[in-house]
């Protein structure tokens, strides 16, 4: 890849678009999540701000912007303020290799998925910093949970994705999407249902969503690693949570659900439809299940997902090699 001015400009524009997408996504998801939660609980959800409460998310973000940032005593100042920023910015990078069309990629790198997996690990650094720096016992417990959970769930996630990579023979997301067809039976989910299931479970674990939301388990740790954050500090964590969710949903769509390809007309809208379908599913399970316990969370991973994903990978490798 040549680093010409045009290329550089392309990346800058892409970054701006990605920021816009992240903020827009958070606004949409706040509304979707609260509405879905409301409907599941047989109540209307946000209703009063704007028609049917559409402006609720805007009001929420205004409130977060306007709130006093309450800083607890005896904190580590640098790390305390670095953590939310660290949670937010690596996500920008992760969006670059996501393909929204055959040529609609911010940065078409050949090792796209490698880039995503490598940098998504940075998210947990911000969690541990936040928990550690805020001088709060709940925060420390939450941070400790976040680390072991992230470490655990990254492995089956990679294994599951690796099975697709074996099938395709490429690490580039564009290439992986190109190898799938437009119709659902031509997607990778049909070939690799087990990998899809493993990915779906570890996706929930990786993004710290219920029922695997142990780092911020409300009834145990009040708010876990971000207990002491208010105002924009909290907003950045919030934003990065939704951004991470969208990212893993995009990856899921690209790897298993045919990416930007879809019936009738290919295009980026299919990517969004599929990713948001995955997100709605994540929201749905959040409002249905109780939370697992921490040792169970790790047991699910180490005793079931990991062996299954290795088995799946091995079978895939054998089939790819000999058939």
């Amino acid at each position: 890849m040549d680093l010409s001015i045009a290329n550089f400009a392309q990346i800058i524009i892409a970054c701006l678009l990605v920021i816009a997408l992240m903020v827009g996504n958070a606004v949409v998801m706040v509304y979707v999540e609260r509405k879905a939660c409301g409907f599941i609980q047989r109540r209307p959800g946000p209703y009063e701000v704007g028609p049917r409460g559409i402006l609720q998310a805007v009001c929420d973000s205004m409130k977060l912007l306007g709130k006093q940032i309450y800083v607890p005593g005896n904190i580590d100042w640098i790390l305390y303020f670095l953590a939310p920023v660290l949670a937010f910015f690596p996500v920008l990078l992760l969006y670059l290799p996501i393909p929204f069309g055959r040529h609609l990629t911010a940065m078409n790198v050949d090792e796209g998925i490698l880039l995503i997996l490598a940098f998504s690990g940075l998210g947990v650094v911000s969690n541990i910093l936040a928990g550690w720096a805020s001088n709060n016992k709940y925060g420390i417990l939450g941070a400790a949970r976040a680390v072991s959970q992230a470490v655990a769930y990254e492995i089956p996630m990679i294994m599951a994705l690796l099975a697709i990579v074996f099938l395709t023979g490429s690490l580039s997301l564009t290439e992986i999407v190109e190898r799938q067809g437009s119709w659902p039976w031509q997607w990778n989910i049909v070939v690799q249902p087990l990998a899809f299931f493993i990915y779906l479970v570890s996706l929930v674990g990786e993004t710290n969503r219920a029922p695997f939301d142990l780092p911020e388990a409300e009834s145990e740790l009040t708010a876990g690693f971000h207990t002491e954050y208010s105002g924009m500090g909290f907003a950045l964590f919030f934003l990065s949570e939704y951004a991470n969710m969208l990212l893993v949903s995009f990856v899921c769509a690209a790897f298993f659900l045919g990416g930007y390809k879809g019936p009738f007309m290919d295009g980026f809208w299919w990517m969004f439809i599929k990713a948001y379908a995955v997100m709605v599913f994540i929201v749905w399970i959040r409002w249905t299940f109780p939370r697992v316990r921490f040792d169970q969370l790790l047991n699910i991973n180490w005793r079931w997902l990991l062996p299954l994903s290795i088995l799946n990978l091995w079978v895939t490798a054998v089939i790819v090699r000999f058939i």
């Binding site: 939660c37 599941i40 609980q41 047989r42 109540r43 800083v71 005593g73 005896n74 904190i75 580590d76 100042w77 640098i78 001088n135 016992k137 709940y138 420390i140 417990l141 219920a210 029922p211 939301d213 388990a217 409300e218 009834s219 145990e220 009040t222 409002w287 249905t288 299940f289 109780p290 939370r291 697992v292 316990r293 921490f294 040792d295 169970q296």
Partner: protein, 397 residues
């Protein structure tokens, strides 16, 4: 503290060991082991249901010791009895335990009636049973939702509230309030039921039976919930006996102890209902038992509404507000949703009570927690706390 940090922005606490907690924490910290973390759960914590405070000593995520600290919601109900006439004390009873106020009504009114030798008309006795059992169901439903919320499932509590609202609608017809009911009067109840009450109650019983199937599908059978609860926080009969636990906790431990059958009061002896025991003494056992109790209560309500005798709901010349209790001493206990609710009443024949002692089941049940939570994970400790079905106003009184 904050301004100091602005001057010294890189300052982490210079001597973290210098932090001094309050009396309870300091006292608790004396027994702490090496390398453990002392954590205050509460008084403001999402899963302590109000203002219970539990100090726990954590080793990693394991609870080494736990100690509940009470008194954040102490409202001197017992002392208030000494400046109130028996009649004026009835509304207090609705506030002691806001989830099962009718049982407390019954305990207080029953104690006064026993002391004064007042007979209650039969229809009133039936209505007492119906209202008490409906209230027990609503209390258990509330517990069900709150317990699942402690375990991280937020939605079920809103489904439980749907049923609770129906019960509140029914009980509001006769009691006039939806939460802190004071329905009982000396020698009867305050109001007779109307057609709407009868109709709604008869509709409610099959409706809730139908809904309980949904509860089973959504929560009880859920694998996450089962694995969270199975084998967690066993409280055997011996532990219960040592701490004076009553109610569902004791019955889950396998002992068939229920004030309704052991020391019958009212007209409970006229109904066929089963007092569930078991199936196990862990959190799951207590969970299953309370759901079984909802069904048993539904049976009682159904029978009582089916055979409601005609007649007055209050004796003639029922005691008025200024009524004086005869001198004497008595104890009256009823079965509340959380266990045995007792009122020990002493009167010197004056206008007000001489002394009232309220036996709150939650207080005894909470004392099991310290022992049951030893060596479990923090998340399990929360589950155990939830399975005790604590109502903090009742514990602190």
């Amino acid at each position: 503290m904050n301004s100091l940090n602005f001057i010294n922005p890189f300052g982490v606490s210079e001597d973290p060991g210098s932090y001094v907690g309050d009396f309870y924490t300091d006292n608790f910290a004396k027994g702490a082991g090496e390398g453990t973390l002392i954590l205050n759960l509460g008084p403001q914590h999402p899963s302590t249901h109000g203002v219970l405070r539990v100090i726990v000593e954590l080793e990693g995520e394991y609870v080494v010791r736990a100690e509940p600290v009470l008194g954040y919601l102490h409202r001197m109900h017992e002392k208030m009895a000494e400046v109130k006439t028996p009649w004026q004390y009835i509304p207090n009873m609705g506030r002691v335990d806001y989830l099962h106020p009718i049982a407390w009504n019954w305990a207080q009114v029953g104690a006064c009636e026993r002391l004064a030798g007042i007979e209650v008309p039969e229809r009133a006795e039936y209505l007492r049973v119906v209202s008490c059992e409906l209230n027990r169901i609503s209390s258990h439903l509330m517990w069900w939702g709150a317990f699942v919320m402690d375990l991280g499932g937020v939605t079920p509590i809103l489904y439980a509230f749907e049923e609770r609202e129906k019960i509140n609608d029914i009980l509001q017809i006769v009691t006039g309030s939806r939460l802190t009911m004071s329905y009982f009067r000396f020698g009867g109840v305050s109001a007779d039921v109307d057609d709407r009450f009868v109709r709604l109650t008869k509709e409610f019983v099959p409706y809730l039976r139908e809904r309980l199937k949904m509860y089973k599908a959504l929560v009880t059978d859920n694998v996450i919930l089962r694995r969270r609860l199975e084998g967690v926080g066993p409280m055997d009969a011996d532990l219960c006996r040592r701490h004076g636990a009553t109610g569902p906790i004791l019955r889950a431990a396998g002992l068939k102890r229920d004030t309704r059958t052991d020391a019958p009061y009212g007209v409970y002896h006229k109904f066929q209902y089963n007092v569930p025991t078991g199936p196990s003494d862990d959190c799951l056992g207590r969970y299953m038992l309370r759901l079984a109790e909802i069904e048993a209560s539904l049976d009682i309500v159904e029978q009582a509404m089916g055979s409601l005798p005609p007649g007055p709901v209050r004796i003639d010349k029922a005691p008025k507000a200024g009524w004086k209790l005869p001198a004497g001493e008595t104890y009256f206990a009823v079965e509340g949703a959380r266990g045995q609710v007792g009122v020990h009443l002493v009167s010197d024949g004056g206008k007000n009570h001489y002394r009232v002692k309220l036996r709150a089941p939650g207080f005894s049940n909470l004392s099991l927690f310290a022992e049951a939570a030893r060596g479990v994970l923090l998340a399990d400790a929360i589950a155990i706390l939830g399975s005790l079905d604590l109502v903090i106003p009742e514990v602190d009184r």
